[in-house]
């Protein structure tokens, strides 16, 4: 607690100092409109978001516009969004990252694209989000309890990828993006084609990226008291490739609109050579093959077909979303026979094929004066198949259905109240799995049952309530409270295998109860002409938080360490986000975003692992306006990002020291006839600081993060 108070005090001082240095009387405001526009572009959008979901009016929503995302583009979508307060990531190298909202990840964060929940084995720590970041035009993060609208898993919050807004005009547009990143020699291209008429549109995109192993500012790392080499500053085998394509077709009519979206995501990402098993010096010799993705590696293919329809009839609005997803995840590594197979069957250690069919129907009653009522049904069917010479999770089928009502009532011009209720039913069928051992002649000598045939059924009620009160001009207080509900994932029920790199034998527990709790948050929003202030503290209590706990017993499996079992324990999460931004003087603005998460397993009095540390992001942006018509405003941002030490760690989790990173970004657009050319330049980790990220999958190997990264990107638009 002393630690928290110190950090809060530090932030208060930083703000006080900066405010004090720039009294408003000194600011010269010549062209308010231009400055206002500039400000909205650089700060996180707070007030005027029209989220697809009605719940957004009381919960805290943060977002980035596409231009902002391009200006400070990271390695992948989640890495780009990390600067938003309350959003973090769990990365595995540069290609893979998982979203974290207020310290919660895995199956507690829902990512939706065009209304359909992304299903890609999110329970896995090194399973990244399978979305092409070039294809994201609008995205918003809604923090807080979303169980009413999303059912199970909507606990930490939702990352919503919204369809692009296509104006109903005759238009033909082309976009080409080409980028290069120096730290991992990434070359990428993304091409977009748009053709629209007032009643129809077609949008196609293709992206390709190829990158080498990334560079770190260190030539060795220490693991278990051994000094191991990092030759040429390159982390061996951390390169990758990505090839994605998407097609969106839509029609607009008097009765509403409908669209069909097809997307294909393909990624090949290498794992650091020393990440599987105990790293040894002779494995890490430099072969100069920085771009070749060798073993061990991940290969992911994610195919999606989504249909969205909005239908207006009298005073009813009906929305139907249908989705088909096929996620194929493969982990390839050198086979470890250990008597399991006479002849190692190729390099596929683990292959998971997940088919998900989803359907959402929402009905909204329009025209009621102060009321807004939405009713909805959500269905999901899932089938998972497994193969490979290793076993981690069983094959299964899962069906879910949820019914909800969400009602909004405007009690007065300044008071908005909302409430939601939901009922869910879910059924899981887990198939049993025997793993056989063979002798050299191919005869079965032993078998072991690794998964029991299990059937689980769940019923649940969830509720939430929200309030938004404008108690003064330009000031609002928001409050939300809701029950949290999450059915245990198949991994939590039926895992039974060794997770390479951690040596942990991860064991499920098929008697786990669904995770239940109560979550609440507050929001204090002030939006003035020249400055904005948002403070959002939150607190959640879980009766039974499910996660892996060390059992204190070793696994009898070969090359396996301790058995970690999925268990339940009461837990608390608390924290806040605090962002302030203001205009200094002509064309210069300042943004500060602070975030903090504190959690605790009440039973064992230990923190929950992989908790993001306290951080402060300070950005100064200069947007000079030019008098030439072909020269659009320039955007230059200098940012300093401070991460505090993370000493609140779980058993066997290492502590991580604090670090400070400096980034610089600049963007300039030129207009020539119907064309727009934009140049983006970025330097990340300007000072080439050596630092460790406690959230990284590679933290346990004491591997430092990326060194200085210079990025250039060219965008060419033709309309």
């Amino acid at each position: 607690m002393y630690f928290i108070k110190k950090q809060i005090l530090k932030s208060l001082l930083i703000i006080a100092f900066i405010i004090n240095s720039n009294s408003p009387a000194k600011a010269q405001v010549k062209n308010i409109d231009t400055i206002n526009n500039g400000l909205l572009e650089t700060v996180t959008i707070k007030e005027n978001i029209t989220t697809k979901q009605p719940i957004g009016k009381t919960l805290d929503v943060v977002a980035l516009k596409r231009e902002q995302m391009l200006r400070t583009q990271g390695n992948n979508l989640i890495n780009t969004l990390e600067k938003l307060p309350g959003i973090s990531s769990i990365p595995t190298g540069t290609g893979i990252a998982k979203p974290v909202i207020r310290g919660m990840s895995l199956n507690r964060v829902v990512v939706t694209e065009y209304g359909i929940k992304q299903e890609g084995q999110q329970w896995g720590m090194d399973h990244g989000l399978e979305i092409d970041q070039f294809n994201v035009e609008r995205i918003e993060a809604i923090k807080g309890p979303m169980s009413v609208l999303y059912g199970s898993d909507g606990i930490g919050g939702v990352l919503q990828i919204l369809p692009p807004s296509i104006p109903s005009i005759n238009n033909f547009a082309l976009e080409y993006l080409g980028n290069y990143k120096s730290n991992n020699n990434l070359w990428g291209s993304s091409v977009k084609l748009l053709y629209s008429t007032p009643k129809f549109y077609i949008l196609a995109r293709a992206t390709y990226q190829d990158y080498a192993s990334y560079k770190v500012p260190a030539t060795q790392f220490t693991y278990n008291n051994y000094q191991l080499p990092i030759y040429n500053n390159r982390l061996k085998n951390t390169g990758g490739k990505e090839l994605n394509g998407s097609l969106l077709l839509g029609i607009k009519r008097n009765w509403g609109n409908s669209s069909i979206y097809f997307s294909q995501y393909n990624q090949e990402a290498g794992f650091f050579t020393g990440a599987f098993g105990i790293p040894r010096a002779y494995q890490l010799t430099d072969d100069g093959q920085y771009r070749v993705v060798g073993l061990p590696k991940q290969m992911i293919q994610h195919t999606k077909l989504i249909s969205n329809t909005t239908y207006f009839w009298k005073s009813n609005k009906i929305e139907i979303d249908l989705g088909f997803q096929y996620n194929k995840r493969q982990e390839l590594s050198q086979p470890h026979a250990h008597g399991n197979a006479y002849v190692p069957t190729g390099n596929t250690a683990l292959s998971l094929k997940l088919l998900t069919l989803s359907g959402n129907i929402r009905h909204q009653i329009l025209g009621l004066n102060n009321w807004n009522i939405t009713n909805g049904v959500q269905l999901q069917y899932q089938d998972n198949k497994i193969s490979g010479f290793e076993f981690l999770i069983p094959a299964y089928q899962q069906n879910q259905i949820g019914l909800f009502n969400f009602t909004e009532y405007k009690a007065s011009p300044s008071i908005l109240i909302n409430a939601g209720l939901r009922i869910d039913y879910a059924k899981q069928i887990i198939q049993e799995k025997y793993v056989y051992q063979y002798n050299q002649l191919g005869q079965t000598i032993d078998s072991s049952l690794r998964a029991n045939a299990t059937e689980r059924k769940y019923w649940n009620f969830t509720g939430s309530m929200g309030l938004a009160w404008q108690f003064a001009p330009k000031q609002k207080i928001k409050f939300n409270v809701g029950t949290a509900y999450r059915i245990p994932s198949i991994a939590e029920l039926g895992s039974n295998g060794v997770h390479h790199g951690t040596f942990r034998h991860e064991l499920g527990n098929n008697a786990l109860n669904p995770e239940r709790g109560i979550m609440s948050d507050l929001g204090w929003h002030i939006h003035k002409t020249k400055w904005n202030f948002v403070l959002t503290p939150f607190v959640s209590y879980f009766q039974n938080y499910l996660y892996l706990r060390p059992t204190g017993r070793f696994s009898t499996l070969p090359e396996a360490g301790q058995v970690y079992q999925y268990s339940e324990a009461p837990a608390v999460f608390a924290g806040f986000e605090w962002s302030v931004d203001w205009k200094w003087f002509k064309n210069v603005s300042n943004d500060i975003a602070i975030e903090y998460v504190w959690n605790n397993n009440i039973q064992s009095n230990t923190p929950i692992p992989f908790t993001p540390p306290f951080s402060i992001l300070e950005e100064i942006t200069w947007e000079p306006q030019w008098k030439k018509s072909w020269l659009l405003p320039t955007h230059i941002t200098l940012s300093g990002h401070y991460f505090a030490a993370q000493n609140r760690v779980d058993r066997n989790e290492p502590t991580t020291g604090d670090y400070f990173l400096i980034h610089l970004s600049a963007a300039q657009t030129f207009t020539v006839a119907k064309q727009k050319i934009t140049l983006y330049f970025q330097v990340r980790n300007l000072t080439n600081t050596v630092y460790y990220n406690n959230m990284s999958r590679y933290r346990i190997l004491n591997l430092p993060e990326q060194g200085r990264n210079m990025q250039v990107m060219l965008k060419w638009n033709f309309n």
């Binding site: 530090k10 072969d287 250990h338 008597g339 360490g561 301790q562 502590t655």
Partner: protein, 268 residues
Amino acid sequence: MKKLNYLILTTLIAFTACKKDKQTNQDENVSIEILETNTPIVTEEICDHEENNVLKVISGNDLIIKMKLLSGASLSQYKVEIHNNYDCHGHETPPGLEWEYSNIVDLTGNDTTLSEKITIPEDAKSGNYHCVIRLVDKLGNEAEFVDFNIVVENKLDNEAPIITITDPNTDTFIIQKNTPFIIKGKVTDNLNLKFGSLEGELTWNQEPEFHIESLTTQFIDQDHTESEINHTIILPNSLKTGSATLVIRATDLYNNFGTKEIPVKVID
């Protein structure tokens, strides 16, 4: 205004300068200390790298490791595991008579000194093995594990097989890329070639090697002491040209390996 500013700035610097030294619960430290081994810990070259944690043993004998196990909370178990590392963890060889050892022992108290006696079976194959010793307490805290390289010499047979090449028998063998050529000869062993294998590769001084797939042969599953070499090889066009060394390696039943090096010149 300015004075206030200065005050704020100095307080801020004071805060930042303050180092946070909160360590995780010191009372839960778990550790393994190796006190004694019945064979000395030496430094040897393992997989072309110098390793300083090597224990050399002869099959049929015991390896005894004496260790002190400590923990703040109550001790739970230790685990000793040994598995082969013949191919430097490439894991390409199928399992056979490879010796594997795994022992998990329950513990009590906070402080124990004990000896782990590992009997290496007489027919354990020669070669490099990895030994890992782990310790965990009742709360689940893990000690930093102890890691050894164990080099086993098979007692029954420590003689390597001998490779004789009859064709080519020139001083420097010229190989044209993309053209088939035949290697003839034989492998002889003092004891048994059963379950052994033949392998070959091209090396250019310090440059990466090229593994010759067509030479890879598993010897027959019956007791025998002589095996014929009569292999046709085609080297691909993508290969480097110049002076190289053709290295042929054969292993016998107990994983003793013999090599034969033939200087070659690769041409287009």
